[in-house]
């Protein structure tokens, strides 16, 4: 039996005291322990940002890559060795800003990775500029007159792209979040968990309390396979923010669709000169 301690990293944490990232980190540990996935079976890929530092603070294999590029790195790694459990720790700027194009196309590929998008509505590491998910009107040092563009709705976009697993968590609801992460990892295919997370240093609008007042678990009778129902939830216009699984529907993941990956991962193939000789003598 694995416990959350098995994921403890000695590397000192960099986050601000009170940051929502800690809740996400705890939920990740408990989810991994819950699934019995030992550190050496896990690869966590991240971009750049506060969220993207996560894999340093856990025991795991880690690729802390470039701002915005976690998903293509994860995609390449998963194709090379689809026996790995691949998680992506990313921020709202990382995933929906710089990495927006990869976000869309990773969903189209249905690559079997679980994306934990630490959505704090702000660029934390670069000190508080608006992010794609910042609410309209939010003032920052860089946007002193308030944000004038519409907020990015990751769930609606993922749904419209055909994502098979779309969920929303909140860093302040650890148990629920741990369950969502477990469900996301278990889902064979692309899984998005957009996690609402207060940034105590820079986001003065979406505070812990602000979220607490708004998050509500999705109603029991919600049909996870009904795409339009999921879109309605995601586009919902009242104040409430439903948390839980919006949509879940499996279809073969990218690596499941490639015949030559049926037997074993690409990494496990041997170099076979005879194959090349056949081509060279063609």
């Amino acid at each position: 039996m694995l416990s959350t301690n098995d994921y403890h990293s000695d590397y000192p944490n960099h986050w601000c005291p009170g940051c929502g990232n800690f809740g996400i980190l705890d939920a990740m540990k408990s989810a991994l322990a819950g699934l019995g996935l030992s550190p050496e079976k896990i690869l966590i890929v991240s971009g750049i940002g506060q969220a993207a530092k996560t894999p340093h603070f856990l025991q795991c294999n880690c690729f802390h890559s470039l701002h915005g590029r976690a998903l293509p790195i994860a995609t390449g790694a998963k194709i090379a060795n689809h026996h790995m459990t691949v998680l992506v720790s990313t921020g709202d700027g990382d995933c929906y800003g710089e990495g927006g194009n990869h976000f869309m196309h990773a969903i189209r590929r249905n690559i079997d990775v679980t994306v934990l998008a630490h959505n704090n509505g702000v660029y934390g590491l670069t000190k508080g500029q608006a992010s794609p998910t910042s609410m309209e009107g939010m003032q920052t040092k860089m946007q002193p007159g308030g944000v004038i563009v519409g907020a990015f709705n990751p769930l609606a976009v993922a749904l419209s792209l055909g994502a098979g697993f779309v969920a929303r968590g909140f860093s302040g609801e650890g148990d629920q979040l741990s369950n969502l992460i477990q469900a996301g990892i278990r889902h064979r295919g692309f899984a998005l968990i957009d996690i609402l997370q207060p940034c105590v240093s820079f986001n003065r609008v979406n505070t812990h309390k602000w979220y607490k007042d708004r998050v509500v678990p999705i109603e029991e009778n919600h049909n996870e396979t009904d795409l339009i129902a999921a879109l309605r939830l995601a586009l919902g216009t009242d104040d409430r923010i439903p948390t839980g699984i919006y949509h879940r529907m499996e279809s073969p993941s990218y690596t499941d669709r490639i015949d030559k990956l049926k037997d074993k991962p690409l990494t496990d193939h041997r170099y076979r000169p005879e194959l090349l000789k056949a081509l060279l003598n063609d």
């Binding site: 590397y11 960099h14 550190p39 050496e40 079976k41 896990i42 690869l43 890929v45 750049i48 530092k53 894999p55 340093h56 025991q59 795991c60 294999n61 880690c62 690729f63 802390h64 890559s65 470039l66 590029r69 998903l71 293509p72 790195i73 994860a74 995609t75 390449g76 790694a77 998963k78 194709i79 090379a80 060795n81 026996h83 790995m84 459990t85 194009n101 990869h102 869309m104 196309h105 490639i258 030559k260 990956l261 690409l266 990494t267 193939h269 170099y271 076979r272 000169p273 194959l275 090349l276 000789k277 056949a278 081509l279 060279l280």
Partner: protein, 568 residues
């Protein structure tokens, strides 16, 4: 007698000039002749004006020529544009009667390719007719051509093959009342090596380097490389993914390489620009990747379907800050093959990115490669997955004398592998420490000494000459031909060909260049980039430069003319 014949086949994009060229090239190759096919295509799918140049010789040929002996004009425009380029006594084959509009100083022969083709069964056979007439005029035995048709169309229904043979026959018949001045008696021998383009040679090289994954975004002239990989991927453990953009492509390749397979991408300058940041990621994480930059003229979109050698300085310096990398620029398909395989091996061995500079001319042109393309019996793996003695204490960036740290793979054993694009400590964690930073920079650069040893010195022909022509990459063929022409004209001239460009072969080049009184760089760019590098790295100053940058490959004749002018 010496054969060195050049045939231009021109028409609109989509008319199938490439088919004609390929059929003729295969026929010549099968006969034991040397042959080249060089494309001059516009960036469009139909219409406009495109042509190919077919050079046929009984001696090895490795570059374009300005001499033109026959023009096969599928449209009037081809006649108008290329008839004036014909050598005295040359012949134009034209598909229709444009006699009225044509100047009369060259002989021409009209063949109603389309009409004849219809007689053979379908107007789409016009290309076979044209190839037949052309080959007949060159003196090629019909059964040779017939065999080529049989092997070319061996996958299609018998009826289509029969029609093609019929069309070829009609084409031959149409040539009967005409003679071609340079026709020669074909002594069919066995083929000299392989008919191959640079793109396919790179693809072969990738497989010989055990490439398992490739991600790409289509971009001329790099797409051909990936197309060849895709065609070959049916039988080998190679996965190819078309990415949403070049940034995704290079990062997928990095991800795959990190996870343990050899991986590459191919693009052209615009895509390479977008990959610059990823190149730096590969460098700081010490992940081995291979990037092919098939050069074309820029800036920006430039001339998408044409050739250039103008990205040398860019790829050497691309990406913020500094790090070791390999840069190679093969000059022939065989070099492309072997350099690509080496790039995979060296990149993995040293855990550094390797860049291969190709260009449109080398990528798309067909050459006869006489060297044999050998699949290596084994491919060494430099990863350390199985024999880590102390997995718990594993440090991905452990300091070593060589600068190379044991490279374990993620999820392949008990060792946890952590890599990071921030400056990091030995474990792969972010560091802010000044000493660790210094040590990590030193570690990465410590590899350079051993990398240098892998750099093969430039090849010299006619060493000991007074004058040297120095070129790199695809200029090899034309440069060497020019050297021989100049020597034939009593100019005491030799040639230097650089393939391994970075780490720069400074000692080897200094030794070569310090001996001569004059040397000229020959390059397809505006600023003599190799010349500049030579000056920077060796202190030797080139006498002058022969440069061309309008997207068309430079011929030996252009080089000799330029050199003679400069020597005067």
């Amino acid at each position: 007698m010496t054969v060195d014949i050049s045939v231009l086949i021109g028409g609109e994009a989509g008319q199938g000039i490439q088919t004609i060229g390929l059929l003729m090239a295969r026929t010549c190759h099968r006969a034991g002749l040397y042959v080249m096919v060089i494309n001059d295509f516009e960036s469009r799918i139909r219409g406009g004006h495109s042509f190919i140049q077919l050079r046929i010789s009984d001696r090895p040929v490795h570059g374009p020529t300005r001499k033109l002996h026959m023009v096969v004009a599928l449209d009037e425009r081809t006649y108008g544009l290329h008839q004036p380029e014909l050598t005295e006594g040359g012949l134009v084959l034209i598909s229709k009667d444009h006699a009225d509009t044509m100047a009369q100083h060259h002989r021409y022969k009209m063949v109603d390719f389309g009409g004849v083709a219809k007689k053979a069964g379908s107007s789409i056979l016009a290309n076979t007719v044209a190839a037949g007439t052309s080959l007949a005029l060159l003196g090629a035995p019909f059964d040779l051509f017939e065999n080529i048709l049989k092997s070319t169309f061996n996958q299609v229904e018998e009826k289509r093959l029969a029609q093609n043979i019929q069309a070829a026959q009609y084409g031959y018949t149409a040539a009967e009342d005409e003679t071609f001045k340079w026709s020669w008696p074909w002594a069919v021998t066995s083929p000299k090596g392989r008919l191959v383009d640079g793109a396919q040679a790179v693809a072969f090289g990738a497989l010989a380097g055990d490439c398992r994954f490739s991600a790409f975004y289509p971009m001329s002239p790099a797409t051909g490389i990936i197309q060849h990989l895709v065609d070959m991927a049916q039988t080998v453990p190679l996965v190819i993914e078309q990415a949403e953009d070049e940034i995704a492509a290079v990062n997928m390749v990095i991800g795959a390489a990190f996870a343990g397979v050899r991986a590459m991408t191919a693009t052209s300058g615009g895509g390479f620009s977008l990959m610059s940041e990823g190149l730096g990621l590969a460098a700081i994480t010490e992940t081995p990747i291979v990037i092919v930059n098939a050069q074309r003229p820029g800036p920006a979109t430039g001339l998408p379907t044409r050739t250039a050698q103008a990205d040398l300085q860019f790829v050497i310096h691309a990406s913020q800050d500094e790090f070791p990398r390999f840069v190679f620029a093969p000059g022939t398909p065989f070099e492309a093959f072997s350099v690509t395989a080496r790039a995979f091996e060296l990149s993995e061995r040293f855990q550094v990115p390797a860049i291969i500079l190709m260009d449109q001319y080398l990528n798309d042109s067909l050459f006869v490669a006489e060297e044999s393309f050998e699949a290596p019996e084994t491919v060494t793996s430099y990863t350390a997955a199985d024999d880590l003695e102390n997995p718990v204490g594993y440090r991905r960036y452990a300091f070593t004398d060589s600068g190379i740290s044991p490279r374990a793979l993620p999820c392949k054993g008990p060792a946890l592998v952590k890599v990071c694009s921030d400056e990091h400590d030995e474990e792969g964690h972010i560091t802010e420490d000044a000493d660790t930073r210094d040590a990590m920079v030193a570690k990465r650069f410590a590899k350079v000494a051993a990398m240098r040893k892998e750099i093969r010195p430039p090849e010299v022909i006619h060493a000991g000459s007074d004058i040297l022509l120095v070129s790199w990459g695809s200029m090899r063929g034309a440069m060497e031909e020019a050297v021989n022409q100049l020597r034939a004209d009593d100019i005491n001239c030799g040639g230097v060909h650089v393939v391994d460009l970075w780490p720069f072969p400074d000692t080897a080049l200094s030794e070569i260049l310090e001996k001569v009184t004059q040397f000229f760089v020959v390059e397809q760019n505006q600023s003599a980039q190799l010349g500049q590098l030579i000056r920077q790295q060796t202190g030797c100053q080139y006498t002058d430069a022969v440069l061309k940058y309008n997207g068309r490959p430079m011929s030996a004749g252009e080089i000799t003319d330029a050199i003679k002018t400069k020597l005067r």
